[in-house]
């Protein structure tokens, strides 16, 4: 008995839907390409700003989309798909930070980030980077999702896996600290 006879859909030609309940089935190749074009830059920006490492953001962006396509969760519309994508990315970031390695994420990336960016920074951006460096990763996540992506507390809770009730307090503290750092010009 061949594998093809056991799992015909899986070994069928590329680009064919695999299972009716997965995002990969909900989107065909072209739909995915359109969704990717609309969401990839925002996802990369989130990962790059929170991790402060553009190379890591490249890797995690790709991995997030591959996992998104492989997942078996039915998704209701693009907003939900986008939120789910950010959740995958958040989990990947968390896994990365938990993984033991020779150099810490906290020690790495600002120079890398500046070197690769190549975009002239405004005054506010020049203040943001040092301030971000002084924030905890979770606070960076919360602030970016709330004020760059415009997510509600409920959506942030879904993306980060934190309790919805605690988002308000955590965000309040993070925002207060960030505002203080920005007013001081990033010098804590």
């Amino acid at each position: 008995m061949s594998w093809e006879s056991i799992i015909p859909n899986v070994l069928a030609g590329e680009g064919q839907p695999l299972a009716s309940s997965s995002p990969a089935a909900a989107m065909d190749n072209e739909q995915f390409a359109a969704f990717y074009a609309r969401s990839a830059r925002s996802l990369w920006a989130y990962l790059a700003r929170v991790s402060r490492d553009p190379a890591l953001a490249d890797d995690l962006t790709q991995e997030s989309y591959v996992r998104f396509l492989c997942a078996d969760h039915p998704l209701d519309g693009e907003v939900a798909a986008r939120r789910y994508l950010f959740r995958i990315a958040t989990n990947l970031l968390r896994d990365y930070w938990r993984r033991p390695r020779s150099s810490s994420i906290e020690e790495m990336p600002e120079e890398l980030f500046k070197a690769k960016g190549g975009v002239a920074q405004s005054d506010s951006q020049a203040m943001l980077e040092p301030a971000m460096a002084l924030m905890r990763p979770r606070d960076r996540q919360l602030l970016w999702l709330a004020y760059a992506e415009g997510y509600s507390h409920h959506e942030i809770a879904e993306v980060t896996g934190l309790a919805s009730a605690s988002i308000r307090l955590l965000l309040f503290r993070a925002r207060r600290k960030m505002a203080r750092l920005l007013r001081q010009g990033g010098d804590a």
């Binding site: 594998w3 056991i6 799992i7 899986v10 070994l11 590329e14 680009g15 695999l18 990969a24 190749n29 995915f32 390409a33 990717y36 074009a37 990839a40 830059r41 925002s42 990369w44 920006a45 790059a48 700003r49 553009p54 953001a57 490249d58 962006t61 790709q62 989309y65 591959v66 998104f68 396509l69 492989c70 690769k116 960016g117 975009v119 920074q121 405004s122 506010s124 951006q125 203040m127 943001l128 602030l143 970016w144 004020y147 760059a148 992506e149 415009g150 308000r168 307090l169 309040f172 925002r175 207060r176 960030m178 505002a179 920005l182 007013r183």
Partner: protein, 168 residues
């Protein structure tokens, strides 16, 4: 007003999200923001993050969507094949366990007969012509040869089967 939010925070947030702050903001709200610590924090942070978002979004050189689609398809296939193979592996392990149990039961049940059979093997194979006679002076001489040889063959067979399976 809760300790962590201001009643006018929502108004300020809407203006910021729509890009109306500060030009399209009413004077009383602007005066409120000047005096309210929470709302002024919100304005400072939101403006900087929105600007950062605009600046960061055009930066990345993204992988093509087609390549990601293809990688996802490949990963799903591999996962499906692994899923199908899992019960087969389970059946193999089960068969191995059963075989070991049966072999152990046979050994326990017919142990004496097997020992007698092993004792007769050297005579049947005329090994006394190959092995020095002193070797047979001990009663367990033949068993000490035949059993390790059989064990070695069994072990090597297992290794060969394992290696062959790995290569597949």
């Amino acid at each position: 007003m809760s300790p962590f939010s201001c009643v006018r925070e929502r108004e300020v947030t809407e203006l910021l999200d729509r890009g109306y702050w500060p030009e399209a903001c009413q004077a009383d709200l602007r005066a409120h923001v000047d005096t309210c610590r929470m709302c002024s924090d919100l304005v400072v942070v939101a403006q900087v993050f929105q600007a950062a978002h605009k600046q960061t979004v055009p930066e990345p050189r993204l992988e093509s969507a087609g390549a990601l689609w293809w990688r996802a398809q490949l990963r799903r296939r591999n996962a499906a094949i692994e899923k199908v193979g899992r019960p087969i592996l389970g059946a193999q392990i089960f068969a191995l366990v059963i075989s070991v149990v049966v072999a152990a039961a046979v050994l326990a049940w017919k142990g004496d007969a097997l020992r007698a059979w092993f004792a007769d093997v050297p005579k049947a194979l005329h090994l006394d012509a190959l092995v020095p006679a002193a070797f047979f002076s001990q009663s367990s001489g033949m068993a000490s040869i035949v059993l390790p040889v059989l064990a070695t063959v069994a072990l090597l067979s297992g290794v060969v089967v394992y290696l062959a399976t790995e290569k597949q």
